[in-house]
């Protein structure tokens, strides 16, 4: 083809990039959806079918009983995650999707950890828990339940310390997120 190609009048674009091959990073999406049966299934099914890997997903009611709010964290390059948001947006039950990765946000999750505790190390455990501003919410002869909230990194750090005592059970809610400042995604939702 080069024999017949004439130089373009303006700069040719760089080699064609392929969507989805960029730098991977963690993204946080907030979705406002109808509070109806099956909506979680639609979202989950779409993410599976389109090959997007959900890292965590938190769903709850909001002040308006008609809608629910989802916080979805996933890994991918920017183009791919934008594709995920567009596909989510196509769902009739999804009213608003926002990628808040680069926005100033509060991102917290809650975790409960059941840790082995003996008479000998219980005091040491309690001081770690206090240092991390976590708390003990249940105590049994040979274990305690530690509850904490914080960013993923903070939670990871505490869990790493507790691991040495022996974790019997652990549950994390997944991150929930809210933008800092006065703006509200719920108020901005098309209704």
């Amino acid at each position: 083809m080069s024999d017949t190609h004439q130089p373009a009048a303006h700069a040719a674009p760089p080699p064609r990039t392929i969507p989805g091959t960029g730098t991977q990073r963690r993204h946080v999406l907030v979705a406002i959806v109808n509070n109806r049966p099956g909506v979680l299934n639609r979202v989950a099914s779409l993410m599976r079918a389109r090959n997007f890997n959900i890292e965590s997903l938190a769903v709850s009611h909001v002040d308006d009983p008609e809608v629910s709010r989802m916080t979805i964290t996933l890994h991918g390059d920017d183009v791919n995650v934008e594709q995920a948001t567009k596909q989510l947006y196509k769902l009739i039950d999804v009213m608003k999707v926002q990628d808040v990765t680069d926005d100033p946000t509060v991102q917290h999750e809650l975790v409960l950890v059941k840790v082995r505790a003996t008479d000998r190390n219980r005091g040491e455990l309690i001081s770690i828990v206090e240092m991390y501003k976590a708390r003990i919410v249940d105590m049994a002869p040979d274990s305690v339940i530690v509850e904490t909230t914080g960013t993923e990194t903070e939670v990871d750090a505490l869990i790493a310390l507790l691991r040495g005592y022996g974790i019997k059970e652990l549950v994390r809610t997944g991150t929930v997120v809210m933008s800092r400042g006065p703006q509200s995604i719920e108020e901005a939702t098309k209704r």
């Binding site: 083809m1 080699p15 064609r16 969507p19 639609r42 099914s45 009739i92 009213m95």
Partner: protein, 678 residues
């Protein structure tokens, strides 16, 4: 040339032809019915004019000629078929009166709501198959005589027929089935509609609400199955929800980027009494805050688009399905003419521009014309309208259109940047975006494009002359598919609705029939559903009875939905079937020849004697095995009132060229292979 003959009418019933009695049909009592085509007699030789020379009222045909496309005219079977058909069409006035009486005597139930909702949408035909839990709906169908129900032979055929009806008319197609196996049978047709953005509402019955989740007889989680392949779906358990849900279903199906919507209704909801009113479109839209498609393109993006066009030296326009859906054909032509930019089209974009237009350049992609792909690979600007850069269009994306900047117009924002990165995205309805663009676009000086257009014309000449394919010529000793398709196009004045099946026949249909009219080429582009053509043509023929409808099938796809021949006969749907029989799964054989070193496993295909098959169904049929027999057979089939069939025994090893190997780019087209038939 062998054939069976039909007399075209179901019997000597006066006016019995469902209003389809053609001019020159014998008067009642003539007894003979009219000959469909005066098909050439066996051994009569080619070139014989297949025109009926018998005057009305001429002597009764010989018994051999009496074979009707409705079984044995005058026989008990024929009477039964005729009675069933008349009942279905509500032809007898007593039936109508009874229906009205009955409807007034009883309460309105959920099943009535379904019928009303369909009629409110301007849809007058639905394709379905009865079964246990949908029977409450069949119980009231007769009370809504304006609604014509076509009894298909398999639910997949019903879904495809609804698809064909939608593609041919632009209205929403409706198909119907019961729970369980019927619903799963619909799935292939729904998926076909989803991938090609076809407005369709699929209605299924489900077991009574109390039995849901209990693995009841014929219960399956069908909304779970259709969830990923519909635009939206519903399970309705309360008749009071039905008016809203059905109005939403139709609204969602046809608004924005169209698509199929599935409504699953429990048996008890169909039977439940309700007075719920039907909402208006405005009420529906207000109730769907999560569904607000962007129709108008952003003015800034449209300005950028105009700037790109003004700057480009080697631009090309891509017309996709979106142009047809948005009815933007006029705007497209005006854009091409004002900017002097040639137009290429995708498989589903065929018909967006009259192929004889001077700026119509051709069909692109894996089996597209070489000159078109060459133009794409050397273009400096692609203006893509209503298409989605499918892998069959682009090949390897890395080497795709290396010099081109891309302007991409689509109503679905998710399509933009999905497969290829683009420079100027424009989200909006093709018609509105193009209209806004035209308003700000200066007229291009035609002399600026002279060299470019001359070069493209030269490429086109080379591409057409480089191979005997596409020349329209026949080769001695071979009946070739491209010749057959060109002849069908010619005989029908390129005005027929052509429905392709899938495989080689699909590519030949796209390349060689020649299209002048929008919505005259229907093809399963995204899903590539074999068995698509005959049932889809059924819906298209009912949707556009003013146009001739041809289903072009290979012997593989035809045998996948062969059962719908009976529907064509019972409902006397005038579909002409062109069977391109190479006794192979042709595209499979072609891939095995070129990419799998000739390892022809499972690509040889036995088929029945199709003339005898048609005779059994009562469909007039002709066979052509040499080029001279082609045109008379097409003309004969075209003249039949009702379904007809032509069996073309084509060269067994003809390939579709060019072909782009999977994973390669548009510059890597294979144009020839060493085989005997090439």
């Amino acid at each position: 040339m062998a054939m069976t003959k039909g007399d075209g009418a179901s019997g000597p019933t006066a006016g019995g032809g469902a209003g389809q009695a053609p001019a020159g049909a014998p008067t009642a009592g003539g007894g003979a019915g009219q000959a469909p085509a005066g098909a050439p007699t066996a051994g009569g030789g080619a070139g014989q004019a297949p025109v009926d020379t018998r005057a009305p009222g001429a002597a009764d045909p010989t018994p051999a000629e009496r074979r009707s496309h409705v079984p044995g005219a005058g026989s008990p079977a024929a009477e039964a078929v005729e009675r069933a058909r008349r009942d279905m069409l509500r032809e007898g006035s007593s039936v109508n009166r009874d229906a009205a009486d009955r409807r007034e005597r009883r309460a309105r139930i959920g099943a009535d709501v379904v019928c009303e909702a369909i009629l409110r949408q301007g849809v007058d035909v639905l394709f379905g198959y009865p079964g246990g839990v949908i029977l409450p709906l069949y119980d009231v169908l007769g009370d809504h005589p304006a609604l014509r129900h076509v009894l298909v032979r398999h639910e997949q055929g019903g879904a495809h027929a609804a698809d064909g009806y939608a593609r041919a008319t632009g209205k929403v197609g409706v198909c119907l089935g019961t729970s369980g196996p019927a619903a799963t049978n619909l799935v292939t047709g729904i998926a076909t509609a989803q991938l090609d953005s076809i407005p369709m509402v699929a209605i299924t019955g489900n077991v009574p609400g109390a039995l849901i989740g209990k693995d009841a007889f014929q219960e399956i989680d069908i909304t779970g199955i259709t969830l990923p392949m519909t635009k939206h779906n519903y399970l309705v358990r309360d008749a009071n929800d039905l008016p809203r849900v059905l109005a939403e279903a139709f609204y969602i199906a046809r608004t924005g980027r169209p698509g199929p919507v599935h409504v699953d209704i429990t048996k008890d909801a169909l039977q439940q009494e309700t007075n719920a009113p039907h909402p208006s479109d405005e009420e529906v839209a207000a109730g769907l805050p999560g569904f607000r498609p962007t129709l108008d393109g952003h003015p800034r993006q449209i300005r950028l688009m105009a700037e790109e066009i003004a700057r480009a030296k080697r631009p090309i326009i891509f017309a996709g399905h979106g142009v047809l859906i948005a009815d933007a054909m006029t705007e497209l032509r005006e854009l091409a003419e004002r900017t002097q930019i040639p137009v290429a089209w995708t498989l589903l974009g065929i018909g967006a521009l009259d192929e004889t237009h001077p700026l119509a350049y051709g069909y692109m992609g894996m089996h597209g014309w070489k000159h078109v792909n060459r133009a794409i690979q050397s273009a400096d600007l692609i203006v893509a309208i209503g298409m989605r850069f499918d892998d069959r269009v682009t090949g390897n994306v890395k080497t795709y259109a290396p010099y081109a900047r891309i302007v991409h117009v689509d109503i679905d924002p998710a399509e933009i940047g999905k497969n290829v990165a683009v420079e100027v995205p424009v989200v909006g309805d093709a018609k509105r975006v193009l209209a806004a663009l035209l308003a700000m676009l200066p007229v291009t000086d035609p002399s600026a494009r002279v060299d470019y257009l001359a070069q493209l014309a030269e490429w086109r000449r080379e591409s057409l002359a480089g191979s005997w394919h596409g020349s329209g010529a026949s080769r001695p000793g071979y009946l070739t598919a491209d010749f057959v398709l060109e002849q069908i196009g010619d005989v029908t004045h390129h005005d027929a609705t052509m429905v392709a099946d899938v495989g080689q026949n699909q590519m030949w249909t796209a390349r060689y029939a020649g299209y002048r009219r929008p919505h005259s080429h229907l093809s399963s582009g995204g899903l590539g559903t074999m068995g698509y053509a005959v049932p889809t043509a059924m819906g298209a023929a009912l949707g556009r009875p003013d146009k001739s409808t041809w289903a072009v099938c290979g012997d593989g796809g035809f045998q996948m939905t062969i059962q719908e021949l009976a529907t064509l006969v019972q409902d006397r749907i005038p579909v002409r079937i062109a069977l391109l029989d190479n006794k192979k799964l042709g595209m499979i054989r072609q891939w095995q020849e070129i990419f799998y070193a000739g390892n022809y496993h499972s690509s040889n295909l036995f088929g029945p004697d199709f003339l005898k098959l048609c005779e059994a169904y009562g469909i007039p049929a002709w066979k052509a095995t040499s080029p001279e027999e082609v045109r008379p057979a097409i003309e004969a089939a075209e003249a039949v009132d009702g379904p007809s069939f032509v069996w073309f025994e084509i060269a067994e090893e003809q390939n579709v060229f060019p072909i782009m190997p999977a994973g390669k780019g548009l510059s890597d087209l294979i144009e020839k292979w060493g085989g005997a038939d090439e």
